[in-house]
Symmetry: C2
Subunit: 232 residues, 2 copies
DNA sequence: TGCGATAAAACTGTATGCAGTTATTGTACA
DNA sequence: TGTACAATAACTGCATACAGTTTTATCGCA
């Protein structure tokens, strides 16, 4: 599968929650997929024109990106892209730190009533790993992590992690298509799930940290070190 | 010392880096000091008028705050304050997770050339703890943590932590005025510094995490549980 | 007196215009 | 040919104006 770069599409989704979010998501996708090289300057009016909107929502979207840390804005000069491999490495460390904290909370706060739903997700994941498509696995992955977050009652931490989501959908699809990666991820998810169910905070934190860090390495291999998986 | 609430001051600093940042900092301070209660709606035009600026920089500042997680904006209804004790508790957990990761990196990457400067800071802190003012201690605190961050070569992680700075200057001053707290902080900083110098990543991470979490409890006591320190 | 509907007021989201600053390009001089 | 300077062009930051939606207040009715 060739990872064709994302492009700025002018307002295709019918139901949008404000132009601001649309522009934000679009620019985010473009930056993370590598279309805009590190150091490239982002021209407000050009972006506004490409997307068919005014400069106002573009300004606001750029502020969001600035807060995300993906661009940095010099006072009167505009914003420049601020995303390279070193940046991605640190983002992965941050994800590991936050997500493992969430896992610890989940293990501390889990109740027996939560066990079946978590186990059901794990069963579903095991089935999908050998039988189903990458899209299904991506969805289940999302569901799993979101369930952990829910058990942890982690609102701020959850939002924080959402803002550090550096995996674009193309990369995710490629990764989830590799059988070896699927097996590794399953084993790790299983370890995390069992630790949470057992209420073992230490184990849950350690397992989640290991999982995020290893998955991050896989991502770095794919996107920055150009080592595509064997099945891609 | 009475912790008088911050108020919206219209443009006092002559040298400012854009009205946007000014408004952002002002609103941030006001929210963190508790002037605006959780759930309160923020009126763009009222803020703009109070600060003597247009609504445009206010809008952008609100987007920054939204990304900081201090407010959440409903599509056509405006933004409401989103900061209470539970939120602060999670922010402290996040700080502990990120800052301890930075400490681990610092211990891994420290070189013998870095030892004297770190030791000098610790010496300075020891002296200031018994002799000097709260302001000096606050400044040294900043220097210490920033030095650790520098050793760790943590750029993204550092920025991330800046975004989670929930201690307003009033609270900081009160905390750093309490002799017991000063002693505790000194011992912890010493443990962190020694672990980093020794290159002991595990110890540095653990020490930093313990420090941030304990200091966070002190903050929560002061701001949300209304237990002021004995010397305030 | 309580509830529902309608109308008015207010507020956000978006667009556009202008001023100040920065970056770039062209030219003159060494 | 390389460098410094100046003028032009472009871009950001800020202000203001307008349209659509939400909220609220008032009036009628049960």
């Amino acid at each position: 599968m060739s990872r064709d770069h994302a492009t700025l599409t002018p307002l295709e989704p019918q139901a949008f929650a404000g132009l601001r979010e649309h522009v934000h998501r679009a620019l985010r996708q473009v930056i993370l997929s590598g279309e805009y090289a590190p150091g490239a300057r982002l021209n407000e009016r050009a972006i506004a024109e490409q997307l068919g909107v005014s400069t106002t929502p573009v300004k606001e979207a750029l502020r969001l990106l600035e807060a995300d840390g993906l661009v940095c804005s010099k006072p009167r000069s505009g914003v420049i892209v601020n995303f390279d491999m070193a940046w991605a490495e640190e983002m992965i460390l941050a994800r590991a730190a936050i997500e493992s904290t969430i896992a610890r909370l989940a293990a501390q706060r889990v109740s027996t009533a939560d066990t079946p739903v978590l186990e059901a997700i794990l069963v579903e994941m095991r089935r999908a790993t050998s039988e189903s498509s990458a899209e299904d696995l991506m969805r289940l992955n999302e569901v799993f992590h979101r369930q952990i977050r829910s058990l942890a009652r982690a609102n701020y931490l959850g939002r924080l992690n959402d803002r550090q989501d550096l995996y674009d959908s193309d990369a995710r699809r490629v990764i989830h298509s590799d059988p070896a990666e699927r097996a590794r991820a399953l084993a790790e998810h299983d370890a995390i799930g069992r630790a949470v169910i057992a209420g073992d905070a230490e184990a849950a934190e350690a397992a989640m940290k290991a999982h995020v860090l290893r998955a991050g390495e896989t991502y770095l291999d794919l996107v920055f070190r150009n080592k595509e998986g064997p099945s891609s």
